[in-house]
Amino acid sequence: MIKTDALIIGAGPTGLFTAHQIKLIGLDCEIVDNLDKVGGQCIELYPDKPIYDIPAVPECTGEELTKNLIDQLKPFDIKFHLSERVEEVKKDNVNWIVKTNNGKIFSTPNVIIAGGVGSFEPRKFSAKECEKFENKSVFYSVKDKKIFEGKTVAIFGGGDSALDWAVELSKNSKVNLIHRREEFRGAQATVNKMHALAKEGKINLFTKYQMTSVHGNGQLESIDIKNDNDEVKNIKADYALGFFGLIMQLGPIANWGLNLDKKTIEVDTEKFETNQKGIYAVGDICTYPGKLKLILSGFHEGALAARACFKLARPNEKYRFEFTTTSSNLLKRLGKKE
């Protein structure tokens, strides 16, 4: 069991700055995120898109913003738990006991949910029957490419993941690449390579087609694909791989006894606390009258929630407000003073 003053769920911009504020006021914290990297939506949805409304930063991309936030955390020692999804939050006398899908357990007086719109999960095929084959012959990521050797694989999608795997697996498997239109959005070099392999007959390319259903008994056998003119083709396949990016799902958060409004969590505007004492929500996931889904709002909400954490983490101490420009305590924590 990991003990900490505050556990932050979500390593997007709001979670990162909240961690900064918690460490600055002398508490410790750990961060859990379902993605395998830090940055949240900024990294997953718009790493290259410029953002123009971060105060005092005229223009920066999602990736640059994330990098700057990580740099700002450098003075502090913060433990990240990536590729971990929080499944359960339960009260044990005083503390919250938080469990992840990989069995990590935290005990903390403060849980700060900075979860955006929930956790990122792969988008799945719309054909209902795919569920039966999931993780057996239908996959949304590749963990062990050896299983595809000598087999027939149907790859769906038009981005870099679909193209990279089509090129890679064509070395040792029979690859069908299926995409809903002729244009691919992946890197041009990979698109060219894929077309060259298609010309050589190493990849069977089906454009303007989408999956309609899958067939098989226990193991996938074939897939029906349909084009815009409703022509259906049945292609043999031992495996299907779908690469349609990620979608955000509220997921287990809905089961933690919090007051929700649609997919957001209701909080007060003093501490950004939910209806459960010691559980806060900040950033896009929280709602209150006048809420703006802006990164700058998340920063403000995190700063206030951090101060609220102090009271529960250090019940016998008094929190005193200080400025980084003048406080020797803060400057010591920032590594600027011995």
Binding site: Q41, L45, Y46, K49, V117, R123, K124, S126, G157, G158, G159, H179, R180, R181, E183, R185, Q210, D228, F244, G245, I247, M248, Q249, K263, D284, K293
Partner: protein
């Protein structure tokens, strides 16, 4: 103002007067029309405000910007008449627009 008709996947018809300048997505969200999630809030980054535009309207709409078709690749059951409703800005010209909302956004 434009009257926008949203038809949900259960064939329920929702006729809404939407103010000029809002997007078709915002018109749905502000009026609690089910079936449009708009997770990213209108940033053309999530494909969860996907709608099917009725055929006679499709050609009258502003052309897709770079990136919208890429996002539609990820939408749930995209078709030829698919659009992201966050990219459709309401004006008098859109009065009478009819969109169908897919059964799911993901």
């Amino acid at each position: 103002m434009a009257k926008i008709t949203y038809i949900t996947s259960d064939a329920k018809v929702h006729e809404i007067e939407v103010q000029n300048g809002l997007t078709v997505m915002e018109g749905a969200i502000q009026n609690n029309i089910p079936g449009i999630d708009a997770d990213c809030g209108g940033g053309m980054a999530c494909a969860t405000c996907h709608v099917y535009v009725q055929d006679d309207w499709y050609d009258k709409l502003s052309a897709k910007e770079d990136g919208e078709e890429d996002m539609l690749d990820m939408a749930f059951e995209p078709k030829k008449n698919s659009r992201l409703s966050c990219q459709l800005i309401v004006s008098d010209e859109l009065d009478g627009l009819v969109v169908n909302i897919p059964s799911k956004q993901s």
